[in-house]
Symmetry: C2
Subunit: 473 residues, 2 copies
């Protein structure tokens, strides 16, 4: 395993050099996180479809348990159970609109991961940076459990567990546990755990900070131990079901899937689940005793349990919905944790937006009114009152509003519009609007994926390293 | 599937052009043999080990259910459930001895398969042709069920079911069903079904021909239907056990395997099987209620059932041993079919050589004396008498002998020595002589293989075609 250990040291060193100004040392945080023995234990896999340009290059890396789709190049990296999903990359000939610019895309975009250590991380979407249209780069970066790197090129960064960076190019930044950043371009920033920050420069700025004493019950991460808290316990409790899914080559679909929907073979589907038309269920999603109405989706690391999604629901990467009834067009953002109880259901009215990284964890029945915006930490009706607003009221903000731990400045209309447009785009990309002819999306295109598995050298100095693998059309 | 069909037509045309002089048309024989739907159904897989130079290139091919080890390049070919086993290829720097020449090997040898259609075919060993040391080529060739291409470069050939070409370079040849050819270099020959031919030019010539009316019960192949007979029924009856082995990612070893032995994870091991020291069991071998003594082996497509192998037994590719007791150092050649019965065991005395393509199928107990050479069709004691000789007597032949359907000319001593030396080499290569330190062979080197799986495009014009895949160290 000498090579593997050398590679680990090399990555840590590179990240620390990038983060020297913030005096941040990733070494004690991640050194013991995944025992090297684990890194040789799981196969990696990549999808082959007629719809996504295929071009994979893996060099001098360990890819244990990771998943790849689309055009992707990984060099000198450790990817542990991560998802690198390149099904929304730009294609040669596309036009990329940025403010008043209409920039032609010269070649198929590629996700390029160099000198990184990504643990259970999701990489998706495409580079939103007009400076780097054809290369969605992630380099000299360490990320930890259930982090999302979404449309966000990264250089020299650290992401704590359940952190999300969304549509943001970042350089030399530290993103704390369960922090969400959507801010365009950032550098040399240290984002505290539990920060939810959405900014469009010169337009609006949304900022929420979790009370740390409450957040720590859900996710807490410190050097020398694994991430802890309710989030981790929740996924660990359901780990075994995934082991079953990964150990067979072909799996029978346990439920009826309509011809226009797609259910990934690496998802877990427990009994009493119903899948409607145009539904998309990604790998590593977990569905149990739930109904997904027409055009609803469940992305990577989503858990939907004892719940009903009425239709056209977006459940973003890592979101969890338990004992809940969701109206149509409800959006649930990244890594949100919405937990009703069997005797205390959570109801979210239609067309509501649950902000990324929202925790609703209730002991008594709770109803979110249709057309609401919800954020932050909500344990009861009173906290809901403090952490939500009608979207139509939010759109009326012109300068500034402060509510509890939330501060908003700028144009409420633009903020609400930006969200609603994005939700529409997501539904469109997922194929929610497919009518049997037009508007094909992932739900229709991902139906016929073949998966290939790859494994590392089993013994010797190179133990755990994967050979060089090049896959082309 | 347009590409796949075009590729099929292209291969058939190329082979037929090569075989035009023999007026042989492979088209009616193989067109319906494997429905195209079958070709998209099974994953292919390749082994990663620290011991075999890794260098795989797959281009514009279908590889359904096939297995690859070592350095191999496949272009414009259809490989259906075939084994391409490059664990005995020459390495750069080796010296290849041929008669008085000592030829240095310039680069790692590669198995190179171009424009071929191979069905359930085994490719193994290395090019024995001094004219092509670094390239074990197989091109413009069609081979059918359970054929063996062993150390035999081939250009423009057809092999019938259960045919074997061994240590022979062949051009524009037709090898009939269950024919065995070991003849150095051949071209423009049509070898009839059931021919067993071993020739060392200017040294010896062994020729046996199966009575066709008897052979047809075992294997019969004609245009418009699948190969038929006892051989096919026998493997079809045991197919399901293999399906189980292929459908899981990791499999538990059902028996105790000594530290110096290796049992491939794609072998079928039924209850009451015992594996001794230094034993090698290859993929697609089938063991049931049998004991493999120290240094014994079972190669690809071998079936060993209700039998005891005392030790240092070679069971060559495709050989079957049922209800039999085999003494030490018994060699059973390619595709031999040795079937005792529960109430009529077959006993083969130590150090006997069962020639490739021998059928012993008995209803009463039968004993082959130690040190015998056996060939051809043996159903009872009388036929054994006609189809065997003591090796020491055979070694006394100086000019010529004819017995029933067998004709031998040349030096019996050289014939026997050549066989015995080769058996020794096989045991050595397989690791039968490993003493915990010296003489490592496949049994020791193949213990730690990782397998990667690859699959074709699932839909569209390219359905069934594999993407270009390049694997390097």
């Amino acid at each position: 395993m000498r090579e593997l250990e050398k590679l680990f040291d090399r990555i840590i060193q590179r990240v620390n050099i990038n983060l020297r100004e913030l005096a941040f040392d990733v070494n004690p945080l991640v050194r013991q996180l995944i025992p090297t023995g684990q890194m040789t234990k799981f196969y990696a896999f990549y999808g082959i479809t007629p719809h996504h340009p295929l071009n994979l290059v893996f060099k001098h890396s360990n890819l244990s348990g990771s998943y790849f789709l689309g055009r992707c190049r990984v060099t000198n990296s450790l990817l542990y159970k991560s998802d690198i999903r390149g099904d929304e990359l730009k294609k040669s000939g596309d036009l990329f609109q940025y403010q008043e610019f209409n920039v032609p895309v010269d070649q198929d975009e590629e996700i390029r991961i160099d000198d990184c250590y990504l643990i259970k991380t999701l990489v998706h979407n495409f580079s939103h940076d007009p400076e780097t249209l054809e290369r969605f780069f992630i380099r000299d970066t360490v990320s930890t459990h259930y982090a999302n790197i979404h449309g966000s090129p990264a250089d020299g960064c650290y992401l704590g567990p359940f952190a999300t960076v969304d549509l943001t190019t970042m350089r030399d930044c530290v993103i704390g546990a369960y922090a969400y950043v959507q801010a365009g371009e950032i550098s040399h920033l240290k984002i505290e755990p539990g920060t939810v920050w959405v900014r469009n420069p010169d337009d609006f700025n949304f900022m929420y900070r979790y009370p740390l004493n409450q957040l720590n019950n859900y996710i807490y991460f410190t050097a020398g131990s694994q991430p802890q808290g309710i989030f981790m316990d929740f996924v660990e409790d359901r780990k075994e079901a995934f082991q079953r899914v990964f150990k067979v080559v072909n799996i029978e679909t346990p439920v009826t899937v309509p011809a226009n929907a797609s259910l990934d073979r690496f998802a877990v589907i427990k009994p009493k689940t119903r899948i409607g038309d145009n539904v998309l269920v990604a790998q590593r999603a977990f569905l149990q005793n739930s109904t997904l109405g027409k055009g609803a989706n469940a992305q990577e690391n989503c858990y939907i349990i004892n719940s009903k999604l009425a239709g056209n629901n977006v459940t973003a990467h890592g979101a969890k919905i338990i004992d809940a009834d969701m109206g149509t067009h409800v959006f649930v953002g990244f890594n949100s944790f919405l937990r009703g109880r069997p005797d205390a259901r959570l109801t979210i009215g239609k067309e509501s937006i649950v902000m990324p990284h929202t925790i609703i964890d209730i002991r008594k029945p709770l109803t979110v009114k249709p057309g609401s915006l919800v954020w932050g930490m909500v344990g009861n009706a009173e906290e809901l009152e403090a952490n939500s607003m009608a979207l139509k009221d939010f759109a009326k903000i012109h300068s500034r509003i402060s509510r509890g731990h939330m501060l908003f400045e700028g144009s409420g209309t633009n903020f609400v519009n930006a969200f609603q447009e994005r939700i529409h785009h997501i539904l469109e990309a997922n194929g929610a609007f497919y009518n049997g002819n037009l508007n094909r999306g992932h739900a229709q295109k991902n139906q016929n994926i073949s998966f290939n598995t790859i494994q590392p050298y089993p013994k010797g100095d190179k133990e755990g390293m994967y050979p060089t693998i090049i896959i082309q059309p």
